[in-house]
Amino acid sequence: MVTEQQVWDALAEIPDPEIPVISLVDLGVIRSVDVSRDQVRVEFTPTFLGCPALEVMRDAMAERIAALGVQPDVQVISDDSWSTDRITPAGREKLRASGFAPPAPRELGGPKLVQLQSNAFRCPYCGSQDTALENIFGPTPCRSVRYCRSCRQPFEQFKTI
């Protein structure tokens, strides 16, 4: 029989399909793992609802659990429990190291335009806070595009949700 820890370890090896430097566990999308005699139930919270990576993540989890020799039961929970605050400290550091600025902590009432237009965001390459909003939207639903005036490098900023 597999243990809960073995399941978490297996899930920690699944990369995010769009940002492969971080795993699904780093991303904080796995809400619970429940091991019974011959079945493993995983509750999974989507990040952005329109993200095409969701199906890939769900199937990858099922495949990984099946490889442990147990029946997977992956439940997608579309409630309000996922926020970018769930990304782990290790996940945030991996994002930054690969050129994605990690999300700012979510404040009460959520993000505001005036914040995005401020210089509170740090360039993941040189660390400067002299950065400007180029586009609220980016190549995937979870990212905005910013520009670092200090090292003159555009970069992707994980949206806070």
């Binding site: 952005f48 609802l49 329109g50 579309s78 959520g110 335009l113 609220i136 639903p141 595009v145």
Partner: protein, 188 residues
């Protein structure tokens, strides 16, 4: 929550997603090409989540609700049906009107006694905050443009109009349902 009310929201988000995606490749600025494509993707994702809730009550599937109904069965607002390409002023005006009306609707849904509806509305609200910021940015930029003001005046009353389909809705429906109508039970 009653399935017809869920369909109203899902249809709004699906059809607006289609209309927004019509800017992909031809928006007046590259940044807006990215923005409208991304907003379209979000709206269609939200539509799917609402259709899934409605489908469970109606004993069907989200795809069947989205693509297998007849044009006159769609309950979307007239506001989202209009084809506004290539008119940027009216597109931004619709964006502003829709996001404002949708915000009021989401706030009400977040208070729903149905925990699933309330949870989904709260999740969607986190994403919609970015659509609202984008609308706010453009509204600020265009506020002194007479064409933009005229468009706001024209479009504002349309969010609550749901009992008619504008002529150009037929062409959208034709295109959107083409694969499903050509190959029964198609999956991808």
């Amino acid at each position: 929550m009653n399935a017809q009310a869920l369909l109203e929201i899902a249809d709004d988000e699906l059809i607006l997603g289609w209309r927004n995606s019509e800017w992909t490749g031809i928006a007046p600025l590259l940044e807006e090409d990215v923005a409208f494509s991304s907003i379209a993707q979000n709206e269609i994702g939200h539509a799917r989540a609402w259709y899934e809730l409605a489908a469970r009550e109606l004993g069907t599937t989200a795809d069947e609700l989205a693509f297998d109904r007849q044009p006159d069965e769609y309950r979307c607002s007239t506001l989202v049906q209009l084809r506004l390409v290539p008119d940027w002023a009216r597109t931004i005006a619709r964006h502003c009107v829709y996001e404002r009306s949708d915000q009021a609707r989401i706030e009400a849904l977040k208070q729903s006694e149905d925990a699933e509806v309330a949870g989904l509305a709260a999740k969607i609200d986190r994403e919609e905050a970015y659509h609202r910021m984008h609308a706010e940015m453009w509204s600020e930029r265009l506020k002194d443009e007479p064409r933009f003001s005229a468009a706001l005046e024209e479009l504002e009353p349309l969010f609550d109009v749901r009992d008619e389909h504008v002529p150009e809705f037929a062409a959208l429906w034709e295109e959107m349902t083409m694969v499903r109508r050509s190959v029964a039970g198609a999956t991808w």
